[in-house]
Symmetry: C2
């Protein structure tokens, strides 16, 4: 019998998390065992709660613990704007920016011919339905500036053509960014979209 | 009521683990929620088990789930050698090396005048007691090549002087290491300890 079997299993499983490998998983597990009451037990409890309660919002695809998420349920955010994002992580990033006061629609990925991801796998039909049901006036496409992201944006634009105002996030120099470290494509896009002072 | 309160709390707590920050904690939590049955629930269960069962070996300070750890309990490892390490992480590193077949003694830190860590805080009296009780013939000091590590090694050597053979790990060029990237101190130590072919 190996008395460290559970600890080894915990390390193996922690090492599967993104951003952690075997070495950092070992470090994290030792740290947790040392801070058992402050870290290990509360983490286990929280994980169990989240595993039992976390669910996708039936309307937008955000993750929460209720059928309709807080953002969809809030009357303050019914301003007719819907921001379309790839992923819940992107929604969280937009929320941290505190610049957008409308609602979201999480696609759950991008169209991809290579990975055989079609529109029906992506909650695009639900988006089209929401636009008519919720009196949406503007759809903001906040998708990645990648080939798949742009393909998806074009497809959605085709589907919604004429029904709403369609916009996308501006491309340009990031705040705090130095020109020297920017790629040529971004510099070109920022120059083409230059504004008069 | 915020339906993401538990998720936010889980992210905050994950971000306290060494090697993780707010960004990687968010990524890890989203990943776990997506792989709920494969990752989140088993992790929560394992953490609960480890929180309930993990304990220090009463003899050597290793972490396991029994009063005496597997290494101390194994008759195969009673070869009279005791390897003194700072930390359980160091013990695990030695075990991964698969080169040492004796037993360990985990100090739980190093002597430090600045941090007011004295010998009694470090299981050094227990080490001295083990040397007489367990018919130890050789004590291998596998402590860090830092000022505190070397101070601790000297202190232990003083305590055990004349009772056992005392050795330390060799210093030199790491396997696979390139001279160009090594610091001057290591090159000097490796040159001073050069061996005839």
């Amino acid at each position: 019998m190996n008395s460290t079997r559970d600890i080894d299993a915990l390390i193996d499983m922690m090492a599967r998390l993104p951003g952690l490998g075997p070495r950092s998983a070992r470090r994290a597990v030792l740290h947790m065992i040392r801070k058992r009451a402050l870290l290990l037990t509360p983490l286990a409890d929280l994980m169990q709660t989240v595993a039992a309660t976390a669910r996708e919002c039936a309307r937008c695809g955000n993750i929460g613990s209720t059928e309709i998420c807080d953002i969809c349920a809030s009357g303050k955010r019914a301003n007719g704007q819907v921001c379309v994002v790839e992923d819940v992580a992107d929604l969280w990033a937009m929320e941290r920016g505190q610049a957008f006061r409308g609602r979201y629609h999480v696609l759950g990925g991008t169209l991809s011919a290579l990975d055989q991801v079609g529109p029906d796998a992506l909650r695009i039909p639900q988006l089209v339905a929401r636009v008519t049901e919720e009196e949406v006036t503007e759809v903001i496409l906040a998708l990645g500036a990648t080939v798949d992201g742009q393909t998806t944006a074009h497809y959605i634009a085709d589907q919604l053509d004429g029904q709403v105002t369609l916009t996308t996030l501006a491309q340009g120099v990031p705040i705090g960014g130095e020109l020297d470290y920017l790629d040529d494509g971004t510099i070109g896009a920022a120059l083409a979209a230059r504004k008069s002072l």
